[in-house]
Amino acid sequence: MENMIEVKDLRKEFKSHSSRSGLKGAFRDLFTRQYKVVPAVNDISFTVKQGEMVGYIGENGAGKSTSIKMLTGILTPTSGIVRVNGMDPHKEREQFVRSIGVVFGQRSQLWWDIAVQESFRLLKKVYNVPDAEYKRHMNHVIESLDIAPLLDKPVRKLSLGQRMRCELAAALLHNPPLLFLDEPTIGLDVLVKLKIREFLKEMNEKYNTTVLLTTHDLSDIEALCERVVMLDEGKIIYDGQLDSLRSNWGEGKQIEFQFADTEVDKRALQPLLAEFDGVWTQGDRENVWIANVLNEEQVISEVIGRVVAAHKITDLKVHEISIEDIIRNIYEEGVTNG
């Protein structure tokens, strides 16, 4: 299969000037400025194949937006190679952007004051979409996103969920083979989220559209993407299947105990997990401790038995480790045990 996105040693540095403190410092800044070069994206490499749906995740400031902006031709890389759909996004910008659709959740593509269909009409001219193709493709999009009743309303009168669906339709108006979605479901209710996910899946199946998705809502990723690329401090710390993320780091179970006895602390509990290679972490409420152990019948029942024998408890829960926890663990501890 063909590579849709090829990124090699991609780097983006920002020069920021650090101001000195106080009035004296401000005067000195006038003459000699101190610059700090900060790499927002630090030599990353990855490829995305045609038709893949990839989740692109990372904390705020991890370099997600910066790298997406380089992939979409908005920013010029400091160094490295980017080929998207066979083109250099920044050098051949005007030609290149015809082959991508972009949704930035916090920024509107539509004209605020005019009816949605007028926005579509202008975009159709901007992208030079022939009438026949527009009709065939957009009728389907409008139907699947259920936005027909919204078309004659001005964008400013739409709710966030309605607007987001229209944004998505606008981004797909020229039927691009590649779609960038930056926080497409931010602030949306569950029903709209489900509708958008369903729609993206459908587009992917029907047109083999490649999708690169960033989101803070990991349930989006779980619902749509088989593969995740995880960034931290401008570097890729994980690139692989979502499933193997779970099986590598999420094999364990969490057993949550609420103790009746307030004296319990980590030192007293640690010996109970002695030969099981488990870790205690403090829960979010008082007197709640969580044992992180391997997902094996014998271990789980043995741990519960020992704890209950040694201390009085008022509550007990067993959880599977969620993707969110796995990712938090990876960020906190690094990819060491992988």
């Binding site: 910066t66 920013l75 010029t76 030609q95 930035f104 509107s108 005019i114 009409r121």
Partner: protein
Amino acid sequence: MKYVALFFQYAAQYMKTRLTYRTDMIVEIGSDLMSQAVNFVFILLVFGHTTMISGWSRDEIIFIYGFFLVPFAIFGAFFNIWDFNERYIVKGEMDRILTRPIHSLFQIVLERMELESLFGVLTGTAVMIYAGSRLDLTFAWYDPFMMVLLVLGGTLVYASIFVLIASISFWSDSPTSIMPMMYNIGNYGRYPVNIYNSIIRFVLTWILPFAFVGVYPAAYFLGREEWYTYAFLTPVIGLVFFLLSIFMWNVGVTKYRGAGN
């Protein structure tokens, strides 16, 4: 060709949006016409007491002023980029612009057009007709074409200076007060340049060539042959500066840093 078609699409959309707010539009057109009329009367009053300045008669100065209003109005209608830094760089609207397959500056021109400004063309023409009739100017058959050419040249001069300044925002996104200052300097072009000292004259001719928006091209219609060289340079200067400004803009776009989300 595609850009021309696109321009009319946007202009049509602009009119349509205006028409949906009917009362708004009537009030606005009314106030626009009124302010143009006030402008006209103001010019007559200001120049009413002057007789000759540095070899220019009162009516000649009024004619120059009238000519200036025409390129200035066209500039105002299509190059509303005085808030470019604020609107497109700081707020990050440039991100959206850069994801569309049209030249970024052209998109901004399309988005920010304000066709009401074109009423200034009427005022300018009225002022020129008034002053011209008092001066008994005669026009040859090709003068209307010269008018179009020189007005376009002047508009390009004005536009390119502002595009150049807007391009600075790509390198430094800190707010600057250069834009309002430039509007002030632009006004110097309305008066004959030989009333200024030679340094200012040099600046207004070659550095910030606002003189090519008013006095130089107008001198052609006033039959002031000593200024003809400059008058004919107008389209050249306009084109050169415009190409320079587009070049700087394109370099600037590669330096765009984007706004954080």
